[in-house]
């Protein structure tokens, strides 16, 4: 009798204990709120256009020279490079691959150890920029889409720098400036192609030497009256914005600039 009582008490106490221990957990709200991520907006010009360390620059310049020499003298086909995805900054290992491709087609003795050194250095530096670039891409999805379209990095610019001629914040600054100047005409049709491409030739201070509408002939086509109005508004925006907010350096990269005006997104939104 006593024994069974002891059993009973001990079992019950165990169950009671378990209940006490486990119930509060069950009571707790099972939904875990995602932690609040604080975002700090920073100027990234310094980070997206990292100046080469003097030593590294020397090495890179040397390799560049050699590459150029080789290209001219030995007719290495540059087509291998063109395959690269144009929408992002080349990763260092991709660079390596390219170089390997070139290597195969050339004398193995030609490949100097400096090249590897350079790429290793690049690796260190670039990883950082890439990460930042990736973060920005995530943070601004829209921007990323635009970047894809705009950053058609060509072979020569790839060789000279890691990104295109303008860094993200430089591009943003320019874009924001033109947003402010552009009065979008309102009578535009919703279902037509509204892309206006304007090619500019700039002075060092950002003033315009020459501006040219690329689809000029479309302006005078019948039924495309709206296009003339739109193209003129874009041209007016560029002129009003003078001088454009261009970076203080790298004039050669941006002296020719193409602006693609497209209000479709805005009209739909």
């Amino acid at each position: 009798m006593i024994r069974s009582l002891i059993y009973s008490i001990s079992f019950h106490s165990v169950i009671a204990l378990l209940t006490i221990l486990s119930l509060p957990f069950m009571l707790r709200d099972p939904i875990d709120l995602p932690p609040i991520v604080s975002v700090e907006l920073i100027q990234i010009t310094d980070k997206t256009s990292i100046p080469y360390a003097p030593k590294a620059r020397k090495i890179i310049e040397e390799t560049k020279k050699k590459e150029e020499e080789r290209l001219v003298s030995e007719q290495a086909p540059p087509a291998a490079k063109a395959k690269e995805k144009p929408d992002r900054i080349p990763l260092p290992n991709e660079k390596k691959e390219e170089k390997q491709i070139i290597k195969k087609k050339q004398n193995p003795e030609e490949v100097k150890p400096e090249i590897r050194q350079a790429s290793e250095f690049e690796k260190k530096e670039i990883i950082d920029t890439n990460q930042i670039a990736a973060l920005i891409d995530k943070a601004k999805e829209e921007e990323a889409v635009e970047q894809k379209k705009t950053k058609k990095i060509t072979q020569s610019s790839q060789k000279n720098s890691f990104a295109s001629g303008l860094t993200l914040s430089q591009e943003d600054a320019l874009r924001a400036q033109i947003f402010g100047c552009w009065s979008v005409p309102l009578g535009l049709p919703y279902d037509e192609n509204l892309l206006v491409r304007i090619k500019l030739k700039l002075k060092k201070d950002g003033t315009i030497i020459k501006s040219e509408i690329l689809d000029h002939q479309r302006m005078n086509k019948p039924g495309q009256k709206f296009y003339k109005v739109l193209a003129e508004s874009a041209l007016r925006a560029v002129r009003l914005c003078q001088p454009l907010k261009v970076p203080p350096t790298g004039y050669d990269k941006w002296k020719d600039l193409q602006l693609n005006f497209n209000p479709t997104e805005m009209l739909q939104g």
Binding site: T150, V184, G187, V229, N260, N262, P263
Partner: protein
């Protein structure tokens, strides 16, 4: 062989190099009103006098009308004249672009006029100040008493040149002018210029009039009035003033509207508590029944191509908007939202239908696509209805009534306009209280 290869390679290399162009996408701009300078028109000193018109002030007056038109659109910001830097005559020859740019103008309108031999000759130029060039130049001759219309036509030309869309200034609005206490309203048909000037009354006010509508040529008006105490659809010729009852219906007819070709009238005919939609050919007077349903079908409105008719019906219980082919087949309900929908009006551009919606005792004017999607309510108020489109499909005019006290005090009815974006809500100037507006098409077409 080697040479060819070399050339090929060089070519590839050079082509690639030429592509090294930075592109920046501009996907947004601002919708701020465009700053525009409208210089007074220069009056030629050789101008003769003309009876009833102050020729010396004509230049000022015309530019004032253009300015008012542009301000009312909400899309332009006409700049103050005291900031202007050049005299009208000199500016008209060749403006000093840099000076005009200083006052932040983006476009400039200049002009001159001459009154001679009972004729008014006006010429104007539109300048793009940023590009420093002339965008448009037009001259025309008319009788001097037409000077207000000249100002409206100039406004239309400039508007079209700067927005890419037709203007709507050289137009008129027909409406029901109301006066007297609420329970004893006198209602007359009235017509005025779009800016509220030149009001004329077309009926005397002995009979109640409702829902006037223009035909496409703006010469005829159809409306509802009473004939032997029965509401009937009438036809009125504005030029001659002749009135006609439309058709020989054995009951009441209401909610008339012209077809886009102006040859037919579409309206409702009610008998024994059931109303259906009918059309009548104005030449042959042949009447055709379009809907045949035990519900109340009313407020028909043709699409601009004449192929479809939008109307409202309570066949599903509450009043909703339906679309059918113009022969009555293929009836499709397009509104499914909460509340009551009425007075569908097809936009002249054909892309939207404007409507009135009532929900929880409030009235809304809205637009939606012709399949009923993309409903946007533009304005909400105590009581408002009867939207009518500007000829370019950008602005709606409607009327709004205020709540009256127990004895009818504080009651008023006014015309309002709103942009289809939902911005720029404005009250239209009318001499009296007004309701049931209908916007004409462009007169100068």
């Amino acid at each position: 062989m080697k040479k060819i290869l070399l050339i090929l390679l060089l070519n590839i290399f050079l082509i690639n190099k030429s592509f090294a162009l930075i592109e920046v996408d501009i996907t947004r701009g601002n919708l701020d009103p465009l700053p525009i300078a409208i210089s007074p028109l220069h009056v030629d000193i050789k101008s003769n006098e003309y009876e009833g018109i102050k020729i010396k002030e004509l230049g000022e007056n015309i530019s004032k009308i253009i300015e008012d038109n542009f301000r009312a659109t909400g899309l332009f910001n006409p700049l103050k004249k005291d900031a202007f830097v050049q005299k009208p005559d000199i500016a008209h020859l060749k403006p000093r672009f840099e000076d005009w740019r200083l006052i932040k103008a983006q476009a400039l309108v200049t002009g001159k006029l001459l009154v001679k031999d009972q004729k008014l000759k006006v010429e104007f130029r539109l300048w793009d100040l940023a590009a420093a060039k002339e965008m448009d130049a037009v001259a025309f001759t008319t009788t001097p008493s037409n000077w207000r219309r000249v100002a409206h036509i100039i406004s239309d030309k400039i508007y079209e040149r700067l927005t890419g869309e037709e203007g709507y200034f050289d137009t008129r609005i027909i409406y029901v002018a109301e006066s007297g206490p609420k329970n004893q309203r006198v209602k007359k048909l009235a017509i005025m210029d779009q800016d509220g000037e030149n009001t004329k009354y077309l009926t005397l006010g002995n009979e109640l009039v409702l829902t006037p509508r223009f035909n496409p040529t703006n010469q005829m008006v159809t409306y509802m009035s009473y004939f032997r105490n029965m509401p009937r659809v009438y036809l009125l010729d504005i030029e001659t003033g002749t009135q006609d009852v439309v058709g020989n219906f054995p009951g009441m007819t209401f909610a008339p509207r012209f077809s886009p070709d102006g040859k037919k009238i579409v309206m409702s005919f009610a008998k024994d508590g059931n109303s259906d939609i009918y059309t009548m050919d104005l030449d042959t007077r042949v009447v055709e029944r379009i809907t045949d349903h035990s519900s109340i079908d009313t407020s028909p409105s043709f699409s601009p191509d004449g192929k479809f008719i939008a109307f409202n019906s309570d066949r599903s219980g509450l009043q909703q908007i339906y679309v059918m082919r113009s022969d009555g087949s293929g009836v499709k309900r397009i509104t499914f939202g909460k509340g009551i929908y009425g007075t569908p009006v097809w936009s002249p551009r054909g892309d939207l239908i404007a409507f009135t919606k009532m929900r929880k005792g409030r009235f809304y004017i809205g637009v939606m696509r012709v399949d009923g999607s993309g409903e946007r309510l533009l304005t909400e108020n105590y009581y408002q209805e009867a939207p009518s489109w500007s000829p370019n499909g950008r602005v709606l005019v409607f009327y709004r009534e205020t709540k009256a006290g127990t004895k009818g005090e504080g009651f008023s009815a006014k015309l309002w306009s709103i942009d289809i974006t939902g911005y720029n809500e404005r009250r239209l100037k009318t001499e009296t209280d007004a309701s049931d507006p209908s916007w004409s098409s462009l007169l100068s077409k």
